[in-house]
């Protein structure tokens, strides 16, 4: 597989690792923002091989983890209705809010369908005119254009039995929340490559200047991540702080302008509650007034349940990179992927789930100071 195998090459990975270990003398704390990167790091053991030089802090970039419990409860309520076909990405099915998960709703007879492409919702809506079709629209800037596309097409085709339960969030405001916190330890950021392929680089350039830290837009394969870390460490060692793009084979400076325009046309920016982080100003997308009839929350008059995740775990600290999963007394004990207590254990993309899955036997390694 071109452009993938090259970035999984053991010899190249070893070269990059050595280069990082021999670069300067400092010990640096670098946050990878995206859950996909967290998984690649833990799965491949990149954090452990670089432990002498770099502590990798895991960021909030797992869309499933940060979807508020109350929204999951709303999804469960909708999916339980007899007149609703509820469509979702697969990894939302096992996440609980205050009560059941969507898999349980399906088991109890709810019509819950797993999608690969949100556009399939439109076919489902057309084929089932007597039913209401609801799509659980979650994710960052990467999936927002597809949701926008579905809503616009539904509107163009006059589909009246389709709506979205919207949980779209934006990465930069969450990063700002972390960087501006007094306890912030992050010295450099690996920015999420796929998000930037849509949004472009300008926003990350601004963050880099404003907060005076290196930001490297980074891909998801082991060699991508090692190269991204190398670029960040080089800057840190030289006292520099700028935005760089490691993931140039995918990310262009301007991003995907068509996708950006589509998102602007359908959505507007609003404040949004993040599971584990609370309300972050300007961090969410809501449907614009002309598309509001496609908002499932409004269509079904959903009440907010006010459910919040367990407070006995430290998921909020983990999502901000202030603690690591094994620091939590509940980790791998009362909190497991089958019975998660906090946001970052609920999704397979979450940092706690990654530690549990790949290295729970190294429970005391890499604990944040």
């Amino acid at each position: 597989m071109k452009f993938l195998d090259d970035f999984r090459d053991p010899a190249l990975a070893e070269q990059c690792t050595k280069a990082i270990l021999h670069l300067g003398t400092g010990h640096w704390k670098i946050m990878e923002v995206c859950g996909g990167q967290t998984h690649a790091i833990i799965k491949n053991g990149i954090d452990r091989i670089l432990a002498d030089r770099v502590t990798l802090l895991h960021g909030p970039g797992c869309p499933v983890c940060v979807t508020p419990a109350e929204l999951i409860d709303q999804a469960v309520t909708l999916a339980s209705r007899e007149d609703v076909i509820f469509c979702s990405f697969g990894d939302m099915l096992r996440v609980r809010g205050g009560g059941r998960d969507l898999l349980s709703v399906k088991a109890a007879g709810g019509d819950v369908r797993t999608l690969y492409s949100p556009l399939d919702c439109l076919h489902i809506a057309r084929d089932n005119p007597q039913q209401e079709v609801v799509f659980f629209a979650i994710g960052f800037e990467t999936t927002a254009p597809v949701s926008a596309c579905v809503v616009r097409q539904a509107c163009q085709h006059g589909l009246r039995n389709f709506s979205i339960l919207n949980a779209h969030v934006l990465i930069p405001p969450a990063i700002e929340t972390i960087l501006s916190a007094p306890q912030n330890q992050v010295q450099a950021l690996l920015a999420p490559g796929h998000v930037c392929s849509v949004t472009g680089c300008a926003e990350y350039e601004r963050l880099s200047i404003e907060y005076g830290i290196p930001i490297v837009i980074t891909g998801f394969e082991p060699v991508d991540i090692l190269q991204g870390i190398h670029m960040a460490v080089s800057q840190l060692e030289q006292g520099q702080a700028r935005m760089e793009n490691q993931y140039r084979r995918v990310v262009q400076y301007q991003g995907n302008k068509a996708a950006q325009a589509l998102v602007r046309q359908v959505f507007r920016v609003v404040d949004r509650n993040w599971r584990g982080l609370g309300v972050i100003p300007g961090s969410g997308l809501a449907l614009r007034e002309e598309y509001e009839e496609y908002d499932a929350g409004k269509r079904f008059g959903l009440a907010e349940s006010g459910a919040e995740a367990s407070t006995s775990c430290i998921a909020n600290m983990v999502l901000q990179g202030r603690r690591k999963p094994p620091d939590c007394p509940a980790f791998a004990d009362t909190c497991t992927p089958e019975r998660p207590l906090g946001a970052s254990m609920v999704s397979s993309e979450g940092a706690c789930a990654a530690y549990f899955r790949y290295c729970r036997n190294y429970k005391h390694a890499n604990v944040t100071e």
Binding site: M1, L4, R8, D9, P10, A13, E14, T17, G36, I42, K43, N44, G45, I46, R48, I49, P63, V64, F89, G90, D91, M92, L93, R94, L103, S104, K106, A107, A108, T114, L115, Y116, I138, G139, F140, T142, T143, H194, P222, P337, E338, R339, S348, E349, R357, Y358, C359, R360, N361
Partner: protein, 352 residues
């Protein structure tokens, strides 16, 4: 056996509160299914011959050593590239017998048919079963047919049971696994799961991926005839290579270390998995197995499997040690070990 009065039944240790009704994950081949077996079936069915850690039971009947197993087939779609539900129904049970080291002899076949299912399709399935039985040297000797109302089935479900004869003294079981054993895989993984998923979801990839479904008994019997010191055999079905290895490590209380780079995955399957966000190590197979054999027999085992499955790339993927009992670890491509776990249920498509 099921009619035991309620007051005599053991207390239920199964945590019903977590899933008060059955979910798809209870049949996904992962840890939730494992718990259903360990915490509900095993304690209630407990008897000296009960076997819940293996694909089949070894029984001693009038001096003969027999293997006995059963399997149900509910695959959707019924027809997929490289086979159909009939092919699977025969090979699946034949392979379970093979994993006990038995020579498969007889099969039963029960059909649950849904009203409205085309008889022409049923005939195709039965022809596949006949062909698969001939191919694997078993006789289908008895069966049953039930029909359910339209909407209460899914076209056709098939259950097969099988009896095989054990003609050797090897104790093939997880408990026979020893440090120093090598783990040998008979070919590349992931084809069946991807073939079925591609057909079910209507994906079209540039190249067609066919199921790997195949009978395994002949190759196992060749290993036994060659005097290979086989300790454990496991076919890789639901839950894939990962679940099979994790189950072996847990029930043998040994450590299995495997090398990611050694696991063969064909280019087509790798590409499909990449697009769908799946890990081939968890994807289902129907013609692949792992043999855990004494280290001294490693090379000969690979040679024999290579001759039985030409071109599939039988290979040593890891070995057994006493380092971390009950765990499977994988060496990543940058040389760091990580845990290999079972999934809790089915592998679900990811968001990004």
């Amino acid at each position: 056996m099921m009619e035991k009065p309620k007051d005599q039944a053991p207390a239920c240790p199964f945590p019903m509160s977590v899933y008060p009704v059955v979910t798809m994950a209870h049949g996904g081949g992962g840890s939730i299914m494992r718990r259903l077996i360990d915490e509900m079936f095993a304690p209630l069915f407990d008897n000296p011959d009960f076997e819940c850690d293996h694909d089949g039971a070894r029984l001693s009947v009038a001096g003969a050593q027999l293997a006995f197993t059963t399997d149900s087939f509910v695959v959707d779609p019924v027809f997929f590239p490289g086979g159909d539900i009939g092919t699977l129904a025969v090979y699946g049970t034949v392979n379970d017998l093979a994993m006990c080291g038995a020579k498969p002899l007889y099969l039963s076949a029960s059909f649950i048919l849904e009203e409205g299912f085309p008889t022409e399709s049923l005939r195709k399935i039965v022809l596949s079963m006949r062909q698969a039985a001939l191919q694997s040297g078993v006789r289908i000797v008895t069966g049953d047919t039930k029909v359910v109302d339209h909407g209460r089935g899914h076209g056709v479900f098939i259950t097969t049971a099988g009896i095989g004869r054990v003609d050797h003294d090897l104790k093939i079981s997880q408990h026979a696994v020893r440090p120093g054993d090598v783990v040998i895989l008979n070919g590349d993984i992931g084809r069946h799961g991807i073939a079925v998923m591609t057909q079910r979801e209507g994906f079209s990839f540039e190249t067609r991926i066919e199921s790997d479904c195949a009978p395994l008994a002949a190759s196992v019997l060749r290993l036994i005839e060659a005097g290979i010191e086989i300790h454990c055999l496991r076919d890789l079905t639901r839950g894939g290579l990962a679940s099979a290895l994790v189950e072996i490590a847990r029930s043998s209380s040994r450590h299995i270390g495997i090398d990611e780079a050694e696991i063969p995955v064909c280019e087509k399957v790798r590409g499909a998995c990449e697009i769908l966000g799946l890990d081939p190590i968890y994807v289902a197979n129907e013609g692949r197995f792992v043999a855990l054999v004494a280290g001294k027999d490693a090379v000969r085992t690979v040679e024999i499997l290579d001759s039985c499955f030409p071109g599939l790339g039988a290979t040593i993927i890891g070995e057994v040690s006493d380092q971390e009992p009950g765990l499977v670890t994988v060496k990543s491509l940058i040389g760091v070990e990580r845990i290999l776990d079972m999934l809790s249920g089915e592998q679900l498509p990811r968001i990004c």
